[in-house]
């Protein structure tokens, strides 16, 4: 079991900066994020885009801001659980929290800061009737172990890097591989596109373009996929596995069931310290809402700074907190 003062759910910019402000008050932080890397949207959606409204930076690439934040919080030695979703929460008799992740990791924390941004990133699922019924029975949204597909018939749908890369990697493993895509051109890396085209030429990949999957058939397990192609109309293909790869999109996820006051997919907070209606649980950054809320990284930083004052008082009710400037005190370990 991991023990910490403050568990931060979401390792985006606001979650990361929270470690700094909490660290100034000598609070230890652990972060959990569903994505395998830190940075949240900045890393997942727009790492190469410039941000212009971070004070002191006329322009900074989103990915660079994440790198800088990681550098800034290093002296406070945060710990991370990445690639796991915060699933359930339980309050102990001592008023602490036990948060369990999707992979069964348990984190024991004195307070919770939800810095979940847009929510947790989950695979985009094609809107095909009955598709979810076959999840784990022939429908996979991730490729975890290529060996699972050895000598099987698989169909991958999508036109981006992950669809192309897996098509290339699995072409040699499977019995039959079909790649279906909405357009005739692919947006992935040029090198990958050329490889897929060469594999299609060599009949190692069946390429069906101008097409999308529209139906699934089977009993307990998926047996065939109905594909709508522009010229051919609806065609049906037998298969063992269907792997739709359409990227990730954010969903509020399990937090919606944590008995917090929620207003239009955002968590209502008190602007005094960004506390939620549940004692000891706070919400900062894009995931919270209050009168006048603006979804800006800048505002999230401010929210984190005020929040940790109350987090400190909750964890150390008998200790006095005196406000200090970093310029005067410096940062230990820097």
């Amino acid at each position: 079991m991991i023990q910490t003062d403050l568990l931060i759910i979401g390792a985006g910019p606001v979650g990361l900066f929270t470690v700094f402000e909490a660290g100034l008050l000598k609070l230890k932080c652990h972060l959990i994020d569903v994505l395998p890397q830190v940075g949240g949207q900045l890393s997942e959606i727009y790492p190469k885009k410039p941000i212009y409204d971070i004070p002191g930076y006329p322009s900074v690439l989103a990915g660079d801001l994440v790198d800088n934040l990681m550098e800034q919080i290093k002296p406070f030695k945060p710990t991370f659980t990445l690639g796991e979703k915060a699933e359930s929460i339980e309050k102990t008799d001592e008023g602490r929290f036990l948060v369990t992740s999707s992979d069964g990791t348990v984190i024991d924390a004195g307070a919770i800061a939800i810095a979940g941004g847009l929510g947790s990133f989950e695979p985009r699922k094609p809107p095909i009737e009955g598709l979810t019924k076959f999840e784990g029975h022939g429908v996979d949204y991730f490729v975890k172990d290529p060996e699972k597909y050895r000598d099987k018939k698989i169909i991958i749908a999508g036109g981006g890097d992950s669809a192309l890369d897996w098509a290339i990697e699995l072409a040699d493993v499977v019995e039959e591989l079909t790649l279906i895509h909405r357009r005739t051109s692919f947006r992935g890396a040029l090198d990958s596109v050329e490889k897929v085209m060469a594999l299609a030429e060599a009949k190692k990949i069946n390429l069906i373009t101008d097409a999308q999957a529209v139906g699934v058939k089977g009993d307990d397990n998926l047996k065939s996929l109905v594909i709508k192609q522009k010229e051919l109309g609806e065609i049906e293909r037998d298969l063992d596995y269907f792997i739709p790869l359409f990227g990730l999109s954010p969903k509020l996820g399990p937090i919606a069931d944590w008995d917090l006051a929620i207003n239009k997919n955002a968590i209502e907070v008190d602007t005094f310290d960004y506390s939620t209606n549940a004692d000891g649980i706070f919400a900062i950054g894009d995931i919270n809402t209050y009168p006048g809320k603006l979804k800006l990284i800048l505002c999230g930083f401010h929210e984190a700074t005020l929040m940790v004052q109350s987090v400190f008082k909750r964890i150390y009710p008998d200790q006095k907190l005196s406000f200090k400037y970093t310029t005067v005190t410096g940062i230990e370990g820097m």
Binding site: Q41, I45, Y46, K49, R124, P127, G158, R187, S249
Partner: protein, 110 residues
């Protein structure tokens, strides 16, 4: 439809099939996603208008010239569903006077 200077009228069919006409200013460098949101239409615009999320996907119903989607927009449409030949991401359409009388329909969300 009343035509006012600096304001255009857009006919929007929502996901329930209900139609309404919204007004959008041409002089505030608005894009269509922002105009829809300002009129409280159920468009997420999660990424804020960078053609990076496809949550403002719509169909262009009238024959207005909204320009060709950029490669970035096409890439994002690849990750969307219910994509048709007249699909666009509204965040990539600038509100200009040429779009007076534009008719659009919000794409379903999955």
């Amino acid at each position: 439809m009343k035509i006012e200077e600096g304001i255009i009228n857009i006919k929007v069919t929502d996901r329930d099939g209900d139609e309404r006409i919204i007004q959008a200013p041409t002089d505030m460098s608005f894009n269509l996603m922002e105009a829809l949101k300002a009129n409280e239409l159920p468009v997420e615009g999660t990424c804020g208008g960078m053609a990076l999320c496809a949550s403002c996907h719509c169909y262009i119903k009238s024959d207005h010239d909204t320009g060709e989607p950029s490669e970035d927009e096409e890439d994002m449409l690849d990750q969307a569903f219910f994509v048709e030949d007249n699909s666009r991401l509204t965040c990539q359409i600038k509100i200009t006077e040429d779009l007076e009388g534009l008719e659009i329909e919000l794409a379903p969300v999955s």
